[in-house]
Assembly symmetry: D2
Homo-oligomer: 341 residues x 4
Amino acid sequence: MIHFTCDYCEGAHPEILRRLSETNYEQMAGYGEDPYCTSAKEKIRLAIQCPSAEVYFLVGGTQTNATVIDAMLPHYAGAISVDSGHIAVHEAGAIEFCGHKVITLPAQDGKLMAEALAEYLMRFYADPTWQHVAQPGMVYISYPTEWGTIYSKQELTALYAQCRKYGLPLFIDGARLGYGLAAAHDLTFVELAQLCDVFSIGGTKVGALCGEAVVFPRGNAPKNFFSIVKQHGALLAKGRLLGIQFDTLFTDNLYFRISEGAVKRAMRLREIFAAKGSPFFNDSPTNQQFPILSQEQITLLKENVAFEVWEERPDHTFLTRFATSWATPDEHLEQLEAFLG
Amino acid sequence: MIHFTCDYCEGAHPEILRRLSETNYEQMAGYGEDPYCTSAKEKIRLAIQCPSAEVYFLVGGTQTNATVIDAMLPHYAGAISVDSGHIAVHEAGAIEFCGHKVITLPAQDGKLMAEALAEYLMRFYADPTWQHVAQPGMVYISYPTEWGTIYSKQELTALYAQCRKYGLPLFIDGARLGYGLAAAHDLTFVELAQLCDVFSIGGTKVGALCGEAVVFPRGNAPKNFFSIVKQHGALLAKGRLLGIQFDTLFTDNLYFRISEGAVKRAMRLREIFAAKGSPFFNDSPTNQQFPILSQEQITLLKENVAFEVWEERPDHTFLTRFATSWATPDEHLEQLEAFLG
Amino acid sequence: MIHFTCDYCEGAHPEILRRLSETNYEQMAGYGEDPYCTSAKEKIRLAIQCPSAEVYFLVGGTQTNATVIDAMLPHYAGAISVDSGHIAVHEAGAIEFCGHKVITLPAQDGKLMAEALAEYLMRFYADPTWQHVAQPGMVYISYPTEWGTIYSKQELTALYAQCRKYGLPLFIDGARLGYGLAAAHDLTFVELAQLCDVFSIGGTKVGALCGEAVVFPRGNAPKNFFSIVKQHGALLAKGRLLGIQFDTLFTDNLYFRISEGAVKRAMRLREIFAAKGSPFFNDSPTNQQFPILSQEQITLLKENVAFEVWEERPDHTFLTRFATSWATPDEHLEQLEAFLG
Amino acid sequence: MIHFTCDYCEGAHPEILRRLSETNYEQMAGYGEDPYCTSAKEKIRLAIQCPSAEVYFLVGGTQTNATVIDAMLPHYAGAISVDSGHIAVHEAGAIEFCGHKVITLPAQDGKLMAEALAEYLMRFYADPTWQHVAQPGMVYISYPTEWGTIYSKQELTALYAQCRKYGLPLFIDGARLGYGLAAAHDLTFVELAQLCDVFSIGGTKVGALCGEAVVFPRGNAPKNFFSIVKQHGALLAKGRLLGIQFDTLFTDNLYFRISEGAVKRAMRLREIFAAKGSPFFNDSPTNQQFPILSQEQITLLKENVAFEVWEERPDHTFLTRFATSWATPDEHLEQLEAFLG
């Protein structure tokens, strides 16, 4: 069986395992006070050209979203997200558990467009009873989106302008950040860091065993964020596990090399399906692809290839998701092509 | 510099790193659905002779305590703990963040005694206004305690009898469980599992990179505990990281071999201090030792040996903590002895 | 200026004020332990023919919804509501503040239809990742709805059947319960109590100064509901204020006499607008009416009549709300008619 | 039976009932937007000579404490209180329900002394692991205390100086504020408002049916406090009920006249017990008195006089509480004296 189910089917990039072994007997402080965390933070600051950026390492994605959102929001306010946003759907109510409403707006190609945000905010404050309604306190987007799409520089700039107009911090969930930036034509890592108030750099889906870096690019972390992380159960005792991994990922550009490889393989996968005449749900330029398969194709593949079936469509075709990762070997793509007949 | 600051100064037991490398390219499902999680759970069930036990793998200690307590408590109730309990002091308000009061009772040698619990409960329900007071909903203890001490079988039996009398589930925080059981004269792992409603098996402090197993020994996990774990941000995407580690720890008794070695070295450390005439705060039989040092001794050690100073005492001596771990080499003990002069 | 803005523009029904004065110097216990609370509860039990019903008196509507929902839900679950539901829109995030998602479904004429609920639930559990999604834990409806409409007996029966099929308690928010039952052709108070698991009887909008009764019709109040009420800040020290008011409202059928009068006046108001050719947003049979007015009509009225303008419509007409109450005098209707020209 | 059980055994001061009746048919806006709320707020501003004070009217005491504390605290922080504080004991975990720890310090005569606060804060920040501990975010006291005692001007000044030194807002719970100020020799209402950041003025226990005013004396209400009140279920639809009551209480000094009368009667009650040789638990100068009674005295009284027995003492005497109120008639005191024999 070959797996395209997700981008976290394998362990870690071998370079990470090598560094974990190499440093295993070094004694060091816990809770992120070790030299590898320090070094990894510095490398991230350099990569985004933000010398005053504050960087924290957390463990998982839902945890990161809940902790950052709860820390950034006034406690009576909610986070705006598109209705297909990860926090709106796939986090088991973790945001609400922290006391906050997820305020959902319609998406366009998975993205929150500046116009949709502007219209919602205008209508919200035009309602004389707005103080009786859960208030918007920040904006959440993911890059790439749940549908693999990415914001252009212009789209992100326009969105962030709306956010600033209303004093709403913008949080970019970068669980798959590398794949997005590897696919981007007109947006750099440095620019992304300028166009938001906080973002995460996903490790889990880009070659690490676990770990998400949270970056406040302009020294703008909420006061006592360390304690907030601890309170949310997101502080790792052996912080070295995160420090060493991120230090490795940001050495010699490994994070982006991993991402570029996966995106290249995703484009190859796309060609394979296109060549078989399969339409796609959208034009995702990243490591997640959404071919629409027939029942016959599903049958052809299912004994040898693992992938996700997201929805049966009215015409009895199936919306599927295939993901590549740092670890997808070229042979898997060849086998996939062969199985499709 | 040699470190006795804590039991998580090093990486992971080498056998764990070996297994992580060995399995690295195996593709498997996430979120604990992989074969290593399954195997690790089965090994834990066997070790406690509880075929119906339900086992979950979480990442960190504070997270585990908060998730288990929030899941076990009626939402209006609090958890009883001794005033020195980890949840009462060192979790940055994580239990209160989940909406629950930590109801503190005085400790005896770090432990919650059945008598103290009985007296509190009797007085609580004798107060005609008890419905206006935060109600006790469960009992939390740690084994070993924050002070390295352990409950005898008789003490634990008596405590659990009180818990059952009032219908309060008993949760044993086993962040250092191995060290406690390695030191116990009259309590086995099987018995401990019988004398509580839920317990954790700490990995982080006993040779793992991270990870705590939560065990409901009689198939008594709260409904939808999986979703609760997710909601608390405690579900790891690459569940294999936890599965492989616990599978390794529970293969060939590694978890207890690690613990026994550390306890043996702690006893040796105790002898070293005793030979220098240092008194101890208590008779901890586990891997944490609390010698009381003079200012001179502190000065002698501090450039070469890292350890924790917990308190200056009225007589200007210092209560200190030294911890051994699976990784403490015998030479560190010899060096410590030499530095003490 | 005459007011149709809402049904809480005046103080209390004079009979309530009379009883408050009459009993003012009687000394009695607090927190609902007084004889008037006892008597009021008994009258409510009689009215619904549920001798084992448990009745609690809370102060306000949002408070009642938040307390009941938080008490009924497993803490990881959410409450299902139509997207126009009061808890979804007008409670400033009070449900989320308690940690719960409001799961919104589309409404039909303001109502949650059994079919919409069934479809959502079928799809929810068909999704293999459902444990990663905020789970439905109960169903919330209001009677009448935010749009003044009411469920027929058949609709409510079908909805409750779905709830029971999935083990979801049904909560009926009866902030305006009296007006709904006064308008109902085929649903009695006794039947309503049989077709849900908990409901509230709104006092504030039906002649009281404040107060909502919460009724668990079959002795099915959550354990320690008293403490939950207290914890939510919803327990009134001078419980007599609520007891006396509800005792009065349920003496000689006052609650329903008040409601019938208001509904009758709302029908008269409807006729007045209909006679002027105004269309209506819907066929609300209760005390809230939603005429669609032209800009000219708005201008005619606005200096002498207060009412709510809810929305400007694409054709530049206005969706408005007019509410009658126990206190609306016939002259106000006559004046309204006159002002309309 | 005559009642000294508490200060909320009766309804409302007759002047309040009169004003409620008088204004009953006036139509007005809800949610505190009525002219009586406006007028009451202005009268309170005048009474404390704080023209920029922001005043809100809430319904009950626990609700007020939870709402104010949750609004003032960073969400990761706790509120400091003496261990006998109302929020620490008698609010069913309402503060923890909002996510915050109640950090308890020992009391002296029911009061939090500046020295005890200073020592705690010094030790807290001296602990190098303080970021792992629930942080202090504000200070809560009540005036008078649970034990009827009051802070001198010097004590309050010293306490507030410590609060400001550490940037901790001081909240004075004034559920019985009137009785405290009526008993004070050296502290005026104006001064009290200067010596804290927020305080409440209890209505329920000082002649109102319900209602607590929350005062931010220097225009320092947290942003969107209105929405926070709503979110906590503390916003009354018929805000007039609170506005009219507070307007009445702050007309012609009624609030303080009521309080002075009750304190005078409490002093008379004290004399009655003293004349019988009863010792007192403390020298409470306010409307709550704590005589220590023998078993014989309890027996003599219990059929005719209601009061609270708080504790049986080691010498088999009983610590009791007697409270007077605005409504306590002189005859009740005479009867009490007679019953004591």
